[in-house]
Each structure stands twice: as structure tokens, then as C-alpha cells.
Amino acid sequence: MCIKYAMPGTYIPINYLPVAIIMLISSLIGLGALVVGLLVRPRRPYAQKLYPYESGNPPIGDPRVPFNVKFYIVAMLFVVFDVEAVFLYPWAVAYGQLGIFGFVEMMLFIVVLLVGYIYVWKKGAFNWE
């Protein structure tokens, strides 16, 4: 068996070096603040002080309360529309060279998704009562 692959290993994304550096610096700022905080902040705990805040009462029940499944629907719809948006970016950039053809095909794409959007709307998933 002989599968041919183009060799990946000669390219260095040198223009991403500053990105790596800024991420390093900002995480050092964040972690550094935490470490300095750990060193200088006073700490005199007792049991009541370490309760999670619940208006001064001892907390009752599980803090992770059950919540509306709508939050889950929103997250699900977010995934779908996010993927749609990701398809739009290269299209928008290349649009100048795609012309009317590019317009028509993206309209087709948007219309299909619009059907889904209207369905969700009619089913009331955007209503929070």
C-alpha cells in the first residue's frame, strides 16, 4: 500500500510568534497576581466564613440547582449557527472573486438554514417566559 501525502514539516508560522508571546505574558500576569495574592493576603478562616454566600444562612441543598432545559437548547442552536457563521467568513473574503455565482449559492445556504430558524421560532424555543 502506498498512500501519498504532501510533506507537512517545513513551514514555521513565524507570524504567530507574537501571539504565543502575548498569551504567555497575559497568563503570567494572571498567575502572578494569584501567586502574589496567595503570599500577601491574610487568611483567618473558620467554618462559617467558608460557607458559600446564601444571604447569611447556612447553604441549603445542592448548590447546582436544576435549571431550565432552554439553556441547553440555546447552547445547541449556538453550535449550529456558529458553524454557519464559520462558513460565512471565507465566503465573505473570497466574495469579490466569486461574483453572482457566489451570491446565489450562499443565498441557497442561508435559505435552508432560515427554514430551520423559522421552525425553531415557531416552536417557541426563543421565548423565555
Partner: protein, 329 residues
């Protein structure tokens, strides 16, 4: 590239490191003084003076606040998930500050001029929602939990609207690099994309306010309902990190508005350096944030969510269709 190659690029790397380090530190200083600026502006809008005690007209207030945050008692709820509790604000800070890398501040200067600059900012702003949701989950407090859920749902909903509103900009500029976008707006004030993309600008501004959890969309920290929302259990410098992330996010969103819609470093009067125009626009936009906060009452959560899904997303999509049509006609 081999070992000698690495050594050869070391000076260059050092220069980039210094440049980035200075830029980040200037940003941090700005963040500290944006807080002061906000307190002053809102104070005056409410016929108060704002901070006056520390230094001349309270100018040293941010420093006093910072020092105070470091010396506050360290309290973590005993039931909290400690590793996540610690790491959540750091994620927020990294996501907010790292976005600075692609912002072009004057002609030919940005820390990294990426081909996919806009996508980079969108990607990092989606990472920022982890700080919120993880902190709320790790705190094991009901208020924090509910606040983080609300906030996460809000942020992800408005992220779509924001991403789609920026598609119009990419259509006009034919690029996702922020410096190309500014270059496409050269040649007079009326070439700015705010005039060509007013609908996108409107959606972007609303989405930017919702993304940074600012009034009138500051439901995650609606103190009348859920205490302080997702950072209820955070105190001292950990709270400070959330604060830092929020204000850095505001700065980035204002810079995005300046770059994508207001012509970035270009201005109507020739001879004025680009950085002046850029900062002028950024601060104008930040002032607009404060103005809105002082003027408008908070939205209700159901209103906020239906506004995002039923109005802003269709508007952004319509804007894409219209822009596409206009461009081929």
C-alpha cells in the same frame, strides 16, 4: 531551521517580546484608569464628583484600589472546586488581553498582523465565556451558578450576532486582516464602514455591550437579583482579575469598533498621528459605554434573549444579504 537558525532569530524574538510586554503594560494601565474614568463620568452624570480623596481629584484611586485588592482576606468556599476556582479568572484575563495582539494601533503597527485577525478576536472572545461559566460552576454557590448560566447563554447568543455583523465588513474589505480593513476605509470620512454598514454597526455595538456584560445587558451581575452573579464568591485579587478581564474586554471591543467601523488610525485632519485618532475613537466608544450605563435601565432576561435571537441575528443576516447584493450590482 536548525539550532543556529533559532539563535539567529533570538534578537528578533526579543524585540517582539519587549514590544508585546510594553503594549500589554500600557493596556493594563489604561484598564486601571478606565475604571477611574468610568467612576468620574458616571459620577458627573449623576451630579456627583466621583472619587476625590486619593490624590488630586482622586487620580491615585486606581492604585489604591489595586493595592487594597491584594491585601484583602483570601476566602474560598470550602465546598468549591479549587483548581477550577483558581484558573477561571486567569482564562478570562488571558482571553481578553491576548486579543490586543491583532489590533492595528497606527499605520503599520500591530503586535501581530494576522491574516485571520477578525477570526482570532472572535475565537478569543468565545474562550472568554469559559471564565464565566467555570467560575460559577466551581463556586458551589447558587447565585454564582445561576449567574454563570445566564451569562454564558447571553454571551454565546450575542456572539453569533457579532460574528455575523462582521461578515459585512469582510465582504467590503475582502480580507479578515484588521490592517487591511483599515486600509479599505482610507480616503475620507465617508469611506468609513459606519456609513456603508450602519446596520452592521448597530448590531455590533449591541452585541459588544452584551458580550462584555455591560449595562443595560449586565444581567449576569444583576445585583438586585443574584448578588454579584458568577463572581459572588470571588474576593480580593481574584475578583480584581475578573474586573481586569471585563475592562480589557471593553477596551478590545471599543478598539474593534474603531478599527472595523470608524476608520481605525485614519482621521479627517491630516498631520495628526494615527495613534491619536485611534485612541480618540477608542475612548469615545468607551465613553459611549458609560453613557449608556448611566442612561438605560437593565433589561429583563427574557427580553434580552429574545432580542438577541429574534432581532439581532435576523438583522445581521439581512445585512449580509443586502451587502452581497449591493456588491454584485
Amino acid at each position: 531551521m536548525s539550532l543556529t537558525g533559532i539563535i539567529a532569530t533570538l534578537p528578533e524574538t526579543l524585540v517582539i517580546f519587549l514590544k508585546t510586554f510594553i503594549a500589554v503594560n500600557i493596556l493594563m494601565l489604561h484598564i486601571a484608569y478606565v475604571v477611574y474614568f468610568e467612576r468620574k463620568v458616571i459620577g458627573h452624570m449623576q451630579a456627583r464628583l466621583g472619587p476625590m480623596r486619593v490624590g488630586w481629584h482622586g487620580l491615585l484611586q486606581p492604585i489604591a484600589d489595586g493595592v487594597k485588592l491584594f491585601f484583602k482576606e483570601d476566602i474560598i468556599p470550602s465546598s468549591a472546586d479549587k483548581p477550577i476556582f483558581y484558573i477561571a479568572p486567569v482564562i478570562g484575563v488571558v482571553a481578553a488581553i491576548s486579543s490586543l495582539a491583532v489590533i492595528p494601533m497606527w499605520d503599520g503597527f500591530s503586535i501581530a498582523d494576522l491574516n485571520i485577525g477578525l477570526l482570532y478576536i472572535l475565537a478569543l472572545s468565545s474562550i472568554g465565556s469559559y471564565a464565566i461559566i467555570l467560575s460559577g460552576w466551581a463556586s458551589t454557590s447558587k447565585y454564582a451558578f445561576i449567574g454563570s448560566l445566564r451569562s454564558a447563554a447571553q454571551v454565546i447568543s450575542y456572539e453569533i450576532a457579532m460574528g455575523m455583523s462582521l461578515v459585512g465588513i469582510m465582504l467590503l474589505a475582502g480580507s479578515a486582516s484588521l490592517s487591511d480593513i483599515v486600509t479599505a476605509q482610507q480616503g475620507g470620512v465617508f469611506n468609513w464602514f459606519i456609513f456603508k454598514q450602519p446596520l452592521a454597526f448597530f448590531v455590533f455595538v449591541m452585541a459588544a455591550i452584551a458580550e462584555t456584560n455591560r449595562a443595560p445587558f449586565d444581567l449576569p451581575e444583576a445585583e438586585t437579583e443574584i448578588v454579584a452573579g458568577y463572581f459572588t464568591e470571588y474576593s480580593g485579587i481574584r475578583f480584581g482579575l475578573f474586573f481586569m478581564a471585563e475592562y480589557a474586554g471593553m477596551f478590545i471591543m471599543s478598539a474593534m469598533a474603531a478599527v472595523c467601523f470608524l476608520g481605525g488610525w485614519s482621521g479627517p485632519i491630516p498631520g495628526v498621528p494615527g495613534i491619536v485618532w485611534f485612541l480618540f475613537k477608542v475612548y469615545g466608544f468607551i465613553f459611549f459605554y458609560f453613557w449608556i450605563r448611566a442612561t438605560l435601565p437593565r433589561y429583563r432576561y427574557d427580553q434580552l434573549m429574545s432580542l438577541g435571537w429574534k432581532l439581532f441575528i435576523p438583522l445581521a443576516l439581512a445585512n449580509i444579504v443586502i451587502t452581497g447584493l449591493v456588491k454584485i450590482l
